[in-house]
């Protein structure tokens, strides 16, 4: 398991996955087990690196934790909400409110400005209006993007786009943020800067994070690493 001494479990856990299995049935009838009896617990402000080669199942695990994919078996509790049996509609609402995503290919909406990209989540969900706008401005400030608020993604550098994506992930004050290969498109120096930023932001807010990566260099930014090979978790 972990190398550092385990602190006593805090009163709130960000993520509790127990015995989670994901099985795909192929066209020819055979079964592929993408994830096998995965058990993982995250404290409410813990940062975990999920490390493994391509096809290892780390993306599957991340997707299930984020409520983007349903598990075949097992229990998933995120921020106190049991999403194991949620239907698609309930998962959609869950994602709006409790989870933040930073995708590998960033995936900002290309025709929206940086500020508007942050406001997308509010647009799609509760539509609080002014409070959301204030929060967006504040996040942009913290992320050093205040002067880039009106720029389109095409007008931003790779690192700046990454920061906008992080801002978007934090807009709804999630219990858990999922980072999918956040540094794969960046050079070493920029990658380290981004990881620094991620760690600072997560810790400052006390938000849990899962960082999916195959890059061992960045695992030191996380509290611990969990290795995934062939669908099985390993310390």
């Amino acid at each position: 398991m972990t190398s550092a001494p385990t602190a006593p479990a805090p009163t709130t856990t960000a993520l509790q996955m127990t015995g989670v299995r994901k099985v795909y049935t192929m066209g020819d009838g055979s079964d592929v087990v993408a994830l096998d009896h995965a058990t993982l617990t995250l404290a409410s402000d813990e940062m975990v690196a999920l490390v493994g080669p391509s096809g290892s199942g780390k993306t599957t695990l991340c997707s299930i934790a984020g409520g983007i994919l349903s598990a075949t078996e097992g229990t998933i509790v995120v921020g106190g909400e049991d999403i194991s049996g949620h239907n698609a509609k309930e998962l959609t609402k869950f994602r709006q409110e409790k989870v933040g995503f930073v995708f590998q290919s960033v995936n900002l909406v290309p025709f929206l400005t940086a500020r508007e990209n942050l406001l997308v989540v509010d647009e799609l969900g509760k539509r609080t209006g002014a409070p959301a706008k204030a929060r967006a401005d504040q996040l942009l400030e913290e992320l050093g993007l205040a002067d880039r608020a009106k720029n389109l993604p095409s007008q931003l550098s790779g690192g700046q786009r990454q920061r906008v994506a992080i801002g978007r992930a934090l807009m709804n004050d999630p219990a858990l943020v999922l980072f999918d290969e956040p540094t794969s498109a960046l050079d070493t120096k920029l990658g380290e800067q981004v990881m620094e930023l991620i760690r600072t932001e997560m810790k400052a807010r006390g938000t849990a994070a899962i960082v999916v990566t195959h890059d061992d260099r960045i695992t030191r930014y996380c509290d611990r690493s969990v290795h995934v090979i062939d669908g099985r978790l390993d310390a």
Binding site: T59, I68, L69, F103, V120, E123, L124
Partner: protein, 367 residues
């Protein structure tokens, strides 16, 4: 939906080609409709203007003035029908008119009516030798007080004044006293002249449901009577024109539906990854689809607006008498509504794909 409209505003280029196509289709719809409306209006103005509860033709006339004749005894029978309050004779003759200032071989087509009961908008019959003229003749340079010569016998008719929307069979109408009409008829169409109390048709006012049927029964089937609306429909050619045009318009709407469906299907394919991201962030399929429909509706509305403006312009620029085009607000609105319905239905081709977008596709290595 705000997202979808923002995209429309920020990226007009990718939508502009589709907008051009939609505008072309909208122009087609409005032009076809305007053509139909124009044909009907110019054919039937004189009948529409009749302030009557029934128009009576003879039974073999097939709702055509020129082939109808009502003898005095038939008229008496009609007058005796219970519920009938007023009966007036009506007849017309179609001739070429020579107008001062126009070339010797350049005649204007006119339909000269003799009438007893004045149609709506037409005053009582003027004195002998005079007539009220439909204002389409103004385009030929006709003025009040001018004397025009009608028919091969060059019967002089003085213009007493103008009336509006009373054209008949595509020709300008002249409204004169019964005596003037008979004089013109016998001088110019001796083969069609009628005896002194014989009329081509009768205009009847009365009470009672189904007056036309009562009249026909009373005359023992010697007449075929219609309400004004039915008379318009029975005017030779009207029904065929209407159904033909409506069929063509219908197929054109289907084309609009397919084109919009095609365009938005393509657009949806292109935006699959964006939709994946939005769904991952918590967007519902219904929100995404509503945005699509909103874009289609806005595009169609803009196309209809441009098309409407262009066809109104076209009507203004057309020389009178070239194409019978009549653009009414009603027609523009109808065409727009039909197109909007087609737009919404066309989007349904993309619905399945929008539903099928998997939020999980947003995560993972880009393949």
């Amino acid at each position: 939906m705000k997202l979808a409209l923002t995209e429309l505003r920020r990226r007009p280029g990718r939508f502009s080609a589709a907008a051009v196509i939609l505008t072309l289709i909208a122009i087609l719809l409005m032009f076809l409709g305007g053509l139909l409306d124009g044909l009907i209006a110019s054919s039937t103005g004189a009948i529409r203007a009749q302030d009557a509860d029934a128009i009576v033709y003879s039974d073999t006339a097939q709702a055509s003035f020129v082939r109808s004749r009502i003898e005095p005894q038939t008229r008496a029978a009609v007058e005796a029908v219970p519920g009938v309050t007023e009966v007036g004779g009506i007849g017309n003759v179609q001739l070429g008119a020579r107008i001062p200032g126009k070339g010797p071989r350049d005649l204007a087509g006119v339909a000269l009516f003799g009438y007893e009961i004045a149609p709506t908008g037409v005053p009582d019959a003027p004195p002998a030798g005079q007539a009220w003229a439909d204002d389409v003749l103004e385009a030929d340079g006709v003025e009040v007080g001018m004397i025009i010569e009608v028919g091969p016998a060059r019967t002089p008719i003085e213009i007493a004044g103008f009336v509006n929307d009373t054209t008949f069979n595509g020709q300008a109408s002249l409204w004169a006293s019964p005596d003037t009409w008979r004089e013109v008829l016998s001088a110019n169409r001796p083969d069609a002249q009628l005896g002194p109390d014989v009329w081509q048709a009768l205009v009847v006012r009365g009470d009672g449901a189904d007056l036309p049927a009562l009249i026909d029964a009373a005359t023992g089937g010697a007449t075929t009577s219609f309400t004004v609306d039915d008379a318009i429909n029975e005017t030779p050619g009207i029904q065929e024109q209407t159904s033909t045009f409506n069929q063509i318009i219908g197929v054109t709407i289907a084309i609009a539906l397919v084109v919009i469906g095609l365009f938005f299907a393509l657009l949806t394919v292109e935006r699959t990854s964006l939709y994946g991201v939005l769904k991952a962030l918590g967007a519902k399929s219904s929100t995404i689809f509503a945005g699509l429909v909103a874009q289609a509706v806005v595009l169609t509305a803009i196309a209809s607006l441009i098309a409407g403006t262009l066809v109104v312009l076209l009507q203004l620029l057309l020389p009178p008498g070239s194409i019978p085009l009549l653009i009414t607000p009603g027609r523009i609105i109808l065409s727009t509504v039909l197109l909007l319905v087609a737009a919404v239905l066309g989007c349904s081709f993309s619905l399945r794909r929008v539903l099928r977008v998997d939020p999980a596709s947003a995560i993972g290595t880009t393949s």
